[in-house]
Symmetry: C2
């Protein structure tokens, strides 16, 4: 059975050596308590919880899944107890306002610990993760009275939460939504409709579940401009915060699905369920906006977490499995060599390693931007952080999830036949991460968001600050050994900008050029962004080696992996540029009825 | 629920219009009965059987899987009955010798119908497919007496068969095998040992199961040169062919695995089980050789079959699902447009279509070569076919299975959230095909076989006849509209040959260059080979259109898909060439203990 170990050395590298979280927290208003000692202690505890409490439940969660009956949904054995331990440990409130009972640590710290939780057990981690998102949404947008009524218990973790957006006919296209909200005399609303794909919609872990539901008021205009946001508790909550009667909320069924079996994906039926309006009428999408963007970064983190776990399990196997001889024998006294001596096995493992460690930097960097966007007192800095997040969110969500499919597939492949067998755990990583390119906006949507809504709609302005940041790095003085990679980084940045320019021109003539190029463009953006973070990591490593740092092997491994990334991954941009430049005709000319005969 | 339809129009195109099976069969000794009418009738019947009998069992097979007990393995509901119908229909003997009760049709026809069976139900189709392989192996290599004793019932389908190669510590590396065979006084042998990953090793479909087992005789030399091949029946078979006592063969357990749940993957224990030697002592690998190569082509076909099924299901959904607006509205009176109007959805569907139809040509072409290698009376022709098969087998197995992972993943993605949900069937295609890059030799092994054993070991000779064939096509007169693609085909062929040359030189200096390049080289070989078949298909289509063929839409779709392939898929070779040229250092320099800290 595979055994997940929190990669603490690499977390330390990412947090302290590359991204300087210490400095970041010292400058961040309200983050004074997040000293490096506190951060290290919290990460240590999160590692322990991940390794000892929830990682052992990952396989059983997959095997047993959730059990639905009309009365309840029962989570897999051990899930409930682990959640109780989580609440006991104070984890739900880690990054929540002290005024609602949280510990007031920066949001990025929750991101960091959730990497570990997700590597250990994605399906389990979704329960607290969704609750955290719902809590933040209510806390940010609801009235003081509703906040008092709901978020205190949520911050404790005693109540959990969900986000109810999707309907059967309204997935990507939320404007088609039909769930309705009728005003009641007491100022509350009766919500009726059916939502699908509601993760953690029903379960047995918490005393109550607070649903955030999108619905239409009677006078709502059509489309997304007519959607309002409501709090709908599973069990009614009295004004004093005590529990009342069950509300008109029920789970109609749970889905049989490819992965994340331990998390209940629910059809949620609202039958004149009572709820409260949050924010202004018809402005529900605005309230959702922050949540959705953070959820997308959360998906990037789940995707990276799977790469890491798959890498660890595949690496263990590759070191132990003796099979065939390398060109140069490694263990001449054994009947065969460990398969890690084979170049092709190394290709697979290094791809996983480069993707995991590179994405970790990207994700943590985005987490820092969230801190700044949320809490900076400097308006310019806040706006800069928001703008950069707007650019990097679709890249992180879309790109990291795509490479997670590839990396977890390589994890399966390293094990050969055993990769296909459940007990080795690799196939579960492959299945569980498959949702990450889909939920919180499919990657097709992320790609359009990046190229269309963000970059082209801004006349290319949206890309400039980040491109400038990369260019500054390219132009800065760096250890000489990095020169070939810095050169490649500069070339790929220019290619990215050049393609942006070309697409801007072509999009004027034919809007289909945007959709035709978007996916490949997202991937170029991703490979180039990851190259930037690998270059930064390599620069730190080279400098530490120059300084004679004792941890030589670690930094040399960074340089070797950077070299692998620049020489064996980044060249993918060449083909992507060619396909982008091939235009839209090759996609659009085939009549719909001629796809098959 | 998805509904598979045998793509008869495209089969007709591949068989009759591109590859001229009619002429091929007319020239093939013993294939006189395979007239175009007979072939069409058989394909029709296979389509009916696939669509009506086994496709409806595909989801239930996945859901219920096989049930193991110490006494037996029970296949999913309906599997046994479908197999009885299969036997009743005479399918097991389709391509077997008339002298053992077969219908004597060419092997390629079995390949063609198995495409349909595999698209409909891969897990089910493995039972007869393995039996067919075992029957052929015994028929080809066993003594007349053993043939009489075993293959008659196998040809009828009343007894099935398996191939027992892998052991827990001996997967890719069969030389490490330990199962032993002790000679008994009566000329038979007592076989003892344990085999794993035995597909269809135990089940309830047939009266007996004839295992082909690799084992070592007491005086066997070490390694693969000490392996002999044995027939070991589940139930003893008397000299007159009647059934005797149960033999010392038992199924210790079946694996829980990612996909093909309807096929039992067994641990098979042989406890002094009685068996017969087939062929010469210590020469078992030679007898296996033919079987393994054909099995690899079978995997290419399974992989293509999944692409086709996934394409069909995704296409149906994309035409029906209304969501968002296209840049130019398609259905202005509906609340949204069908998602097939979106360029990115078309990119995914066209990738599937191009992969499915292109791989079909490659697979059928290989099937023709098998016909020739087996049956041609012209020794030169036979040797040429064998040599070409030696080259194309790792390409077909390795490349088609890789693109099958991609294509079935795109099938999931087209459906968004529904792609992750079991009832839509796409996620099963994704899981089931995942085995194809693994079994019958992982793709890492295929890649080494292609580049190392086949091409470089021959000093590059092995590639020449096929390269010459492509070059002749490039140089031949073709419809003018194809010129840009023919040019690309020529360029990519030259790139492939150039890389071969470069690798030959580098391999002399450092053998790790072979392993470091092999996977990317396999993919370049695959993309170029598929480009050749797409060009041939496009040439036929262009000529039919010039002639004014009525089926205009079909041929125009071929040209549109060819254009997509040349402009959006083939450019991948550029990046692959760059990574190949990056050498082996970026894979080999990292010490084993430095992969993780």
């Amino acid at each position: 059975m595979p055994e997940y170990k929190a990669p603490l050395r690499d977390l330390q590298f990412a947090l302290n050596e590359v991204l300087d979280f210490d400095q970041h927290y010292q400058n961040l208003p309200g983050a004074e308590t997040a000293t490096s000692d506190v951060v290290a202690a919290i990460v240590q505890e999160a590692a322990k919880f991940s390794e000892q409490v929830i990682a052992p439940l990952n396989a059983v969660g997959d095997l047993e899944g959730c059990q639905w009956s009309e009365e309840q949904v029962i989570t897999p054995p051990g899930f409930k107890e682990a959640y109780a331990q989580f609440v006991e440990g104070g984890w739900p409130g880690l990054s929540l306002d002290p005024e609602i009972g949280g510990q007031g640590l920066p949001p990025s710290l929750t991101n960091v610990v959730f990497e570990l939780f997700n590597s250990a057990n994605h399906a389990w981690a979704m329960y607290p993760s969704l609750a955290y998102g719902a809590t933040n949404t209510i806390n940010a947008h609801a009235s003081e009275e509703l906040r008092q009524r709901f978020v205190l218990k949520m911050a404790e973790g005693r109540w959990s939460g969900t986000m109810c957006l999707t309907e059967a006919h309204a997935g990507t296209d939320l404007g088609l939504m039909r769930t309705k909200a009728e005003p009641l005399d007491d100022g509350s609303y009766a919500i009726s409709g059916s939502k699908i794909f509601i993760s953690a919609g029903e379960h047995d872990m918490s005393d109550n579940i607070i649903h955030i539901v999108l619905a239409r008021l009677p006078d709502a205009p059509e489309g997304v401009g007519g959607i309002s946001l409501f709090i709908v508790p599973k069990i009614w909550v009295n004004e004093d915060g005590s529990l009342g009667e069950p509300n008109g909320v029920s789970c109609g069924s749970i889905e049989n699905k490819m992965g994340i079996h331990g998390n209940a994906t629910c059809v949620m039926n609202f039958d004149e369920a009572r709820g409260f309006l949050v924010g202004e009428p018809h402005r529900g999408m605005n309230c959702m906006f922050t949540f959705v963007n953070k959820a997308r970064l959360g998906v990037a983190q789940q995707a990276q977490a799977h790469i890491e776990a798959s890498f660890q399990f595949a690496l263990d196997y590759a070191k132990e499995r003796l099979q065939m001889r390398a060109p140069v024998r490694a263990l001449p006294d054994k009947p065969a060599d460990p398969i890690i001596v084979h170049p092709d096995v190394r290709r697979m493992l290094l791809t996983q390693k480069a993707f995991s460690e590179g994405s970790r930097l990207l994700n943590y960097y985005c987490a820092q931007l969230v801190d700044l966007a949320d809490a900076s007192q400097d308006q310019d800095e806040r706006l800069r952080a928001e703008a950069e997040l707007a650019l990097l969110t679709p890249i992180a969500k879309g790109f990291v999830s795509e490479i997670s499919l590839e990396a977890t597939s390589l994890g399966v492949q390293v094990l050969g036949g055993h990769g296909f067998i459940s007990q080795w755990g690799l196939e579960q990583e492959y299945r569980d991460t498959r949702i990450t390119t889909i939920y919180e906006g499919t990657n097709g949507i992320q790609a359009l968001d990046l190229l269309g809504r963000k970059i082209l709609a801004s006349g290319g302005e949206a890309i400039k600050p980040f491109a400038h940041q990369i260019q500054s790095f390219v132009d800065s003085e760096q250890p000489a050994s990095l020169a070939p990679w810095i050169k490649l980084l500069g070339e790929n940045l220019r290619l990215w900008l050049q393609l942006t320019q070309e697409l801007g021109e072509r999009a004027m003539k034919d809007p289909n050029h945007v959709g035709a190029a978007a996916y490949d463009y997202l991937m170029i953006a991703g490979y180039t962004t990851l190259a930037y973070f690998w270059a930064r990591g390599a620069a730190v490593a080279a400098m530490e080696l120059e300084k004679g740092n004792d941890d030589k092997e670690f930094y040399q491994a960074k340089l070797a992996t950077a070299q692998f990334y620049f020489e064996r991954i980044l060249p993918r941009n060449q083909s992507l540029a060619a396909t982008i430049r091939s235009g839209a005709d090759n996609l659009m000319q085939l009549p719909e009825e001629s796809f098959a005969f």
